[in-house]
Symmetry: C2
Subunit: 390 residues, 2 copies
């Protein structure tokens, strides 16, 4: 049932523990669902209630703490953890105003004699709320809390060959879904019907590999709000002369391969065509720059030089590390392709390079997901890198 | 473009401000995407970066603060807020280790002369992390922070008639999607292909009303892990003799109508049939109990009495308030149908009553979404309340 061997999970644990050791961290509380899946194999939509993996230095296996209905069958039967490493809080902790699931976690930590240790928490993770921290501080007054945000994410940034295999399967899926989107877009078709076709393609996947749900839903801004990149879809019918941005990701066993393309329904305006040409040229330059030893900001600079040549600017980053993830983001929140990011690019990092150009009344996105190779990079998907015209 | 009139948004603001007044709150920071949409109409998948609505007592319009690419086009063009009520932070705040978007929000609050006021924050919301709180406390050392968790959610618990209309449309969609699920389930069919068909039905919606993405993906545990209710799907093919739990929600303009059914592929075992019968009987009793003036715990008690008659017990709550929402949950985190919850049921509350029965090697879910009427309740969907056998 698990997508990786127990050997691989143990190797991941060792890397995280080595990192903890370097930083003087004795206990790491993992609340990011992707980090939890990375270390335990736990994969369920139960992160809407509080749950945590406890990683200590002296146990090669993490401890899962979750809601009873998720722990007793799901965590025990679907992870590499044994039953002794699964703890459950009762249902009256769920969304209670009297007690917090992290009160229970604090109790488990006291039981593990960790109450006065150096405990790292994922301070800026969606699933570690301000209340989580307050509850832990109250329950463990002698603990020394440190910021363990992104500690596991930085281990995740370099993928194993097995992880790359899953991302390449996701790439096959996104190629199919993007073609479905382009085929479906037409005058008089409702936006929701195109979204439905995209979803069908993303989730059914290919004959060999089934699709998983992507960590972000299809983003499909169009027309005069196509410059708002995170809009989804409506019931409206597409009109002729509309430019549509489609940003989606194939997903296979929670591993992603994102892809964006821009599609004009009817002949696009000169501005759209010009920006699309510049985007492709800049993206090509960025991709050509990527190789081990280069920094993230150097990749962005290659893109920015192209923009400058045409008198354009872009305010936002042009890419980020990605891979295994859960809603609300497929990005890993570690390296970004932007000025000031001095992360050194290494083999088997995977990025989504998405130099989206957003204007007041239109937007253009043409992107690639890529893997860093020994001497350059390869795109995960193989899909024409151009503006499409229907 | 907005699903409600400006009059309705203003009325919601007044209710929230009245509630703030009662509690001595001068400023409310709204980070829950559903609460943000409820008050401003802002609807985009941008909540993966930090964003906030600032509600003060003396301004009838909230202030949106978000990332530049989301604010300048999306928030200005798609909400009822004027451009003066939209603020944007630059892209270098995004996932930075040097500065936090809430540092920027603190600056906006100082500018509004709110630096020493009583400021409520949504302490246990996914989108208000421990780091958000640390950043605000640092940036506003003279502020008095109070817990404003669920303040807006408690206003949302009673729906307007316009909101009910959207939920009823979502119910039409979920009826169609559940029928699709039942039609698709068969021996030899891959789980991902059933999920794809469900998604297509949920997102295309009906001819009249397009579907939106539900706040939770289809939950489809089956076989010996059907007792783990939050599992999704795999590439495996269904075998004869498998019992499948399907929990989905129709969604229309972010409003939900959830529904669960259990489907046996081939003749189910006696235990599954018995538990399904008891579940339907208990659910019927719970529904018959719901009317204005009754408490949430009384509804659960009616269910529990039926279970007891058959020598069964259920550890977890049997339902919760729901409606407008974003991932990762369609539940509103306010009232729950469980012992100790003394919330008095009122007209136009909407609940998902889901008395799921989870065992070590099988699970049964048969649920209803419902609206409280003047003298009882009505289910939102109209779908046979039974175990299905294929």
């Amino acid at each position: 049932m698990l997508p990786f061997t127990e050997v691989e999970y143990r190797e991941r644990m060792r890397k995280v523990q080595a990192n903890m050791n370097t930083k003087g961290i004795e206990v790491l509380l993992v609340t990011d669902p992707a980090n939890m899946a990375y270390l335990s194999g736990y994969n369920a939509w139960s992160f809407y209630v509080h749950q945590v993996l406890i990683v200590t230095l002296d146990d090669e296996m993490p401890i899962f703490v979750g809601r009873y209905m998720d722990a007793f069958c799901g965590a025990i039967k679907t992870t590499w953890l044994d039953a002794g490493h699964v703890r459950a809080y009762s249902d009256d902790y769920v969304q209670s105003t009297e007690k917090h699931p992290m009160d229970y976690v604090a109790g488990v930590l006291r039981e593990l004699d960790a109450g006065a240790k150096s405990i790292a928490v994922e301070m800026d993770n969606y699933y570690f709320t301000a209340s989580c921290f307050e509850s832990l501080k109250k329950g463990l007054p002698d603990a020394k809390f440190v910021n363990g945000n992104l500690l596991v994410n930085w281990v995740r940034i370099i993928k194993s060959d097995n992880e790359i295999i899953l991302q390449k399967r996701a790439a096959r899926i996104v190629e199919k879904a993007m073609q479905t989107a382009i085929d479906s877009l037409d005058v008089g078709v409702r936006q929701c019907d195109v979204a439905a076709n995209i979803y069908h393609a993303l989730v059914s996947g290919t004959e060999e590999f089934g699709g998983d749900y992507p960590a972000i839903v299809p983003l499909m801004p169009c027309g005069e709000t196509a410059g708002a990149p995170h809009l989804t879809w409506t019931d409206e019918k597409y009109k002729s002369g509309t430019t549509v941005v489609i940003e989606i990701a194939g997903s296979h066993q929670r591993y992603h391969s994102p892809l964006s393309r821009t599609i004009a329904i009817g002949e696009p305006g000169d501005q759209v065509k010009r920006v699309a040409d510049i985007t492709v040229e800049g993206l090509n330059e960025a991709l050509a720059t990527i190789k081990p030893g280069v920094t993230c900001e150097e990749v962005e600079l290659a893109w920015r030089r192209v923009l400058k040549k045409y008198g354009l600017e872009k305010e936002s980053r042009i890419g980020y590390s990605m891979g295994l993830n859960y809603p609300p983001d497929w990005g890993e929140h570690t390296a970004s392709l932007r000025p000031g990011d001095k992360t050194i690019i290494q083999p088997n990092m995977t990025f989504h390079c998405i130099p989206g150009m957003y204007f007041d009344d239109f937007g253009v996105e043409i992107s690639e997901a890529l893997r860093v190779t020994e001497n350059g990079c390869e795109t995960l998907a193989n899909f024409p890198r151009q503006l499409f015209i229907k």
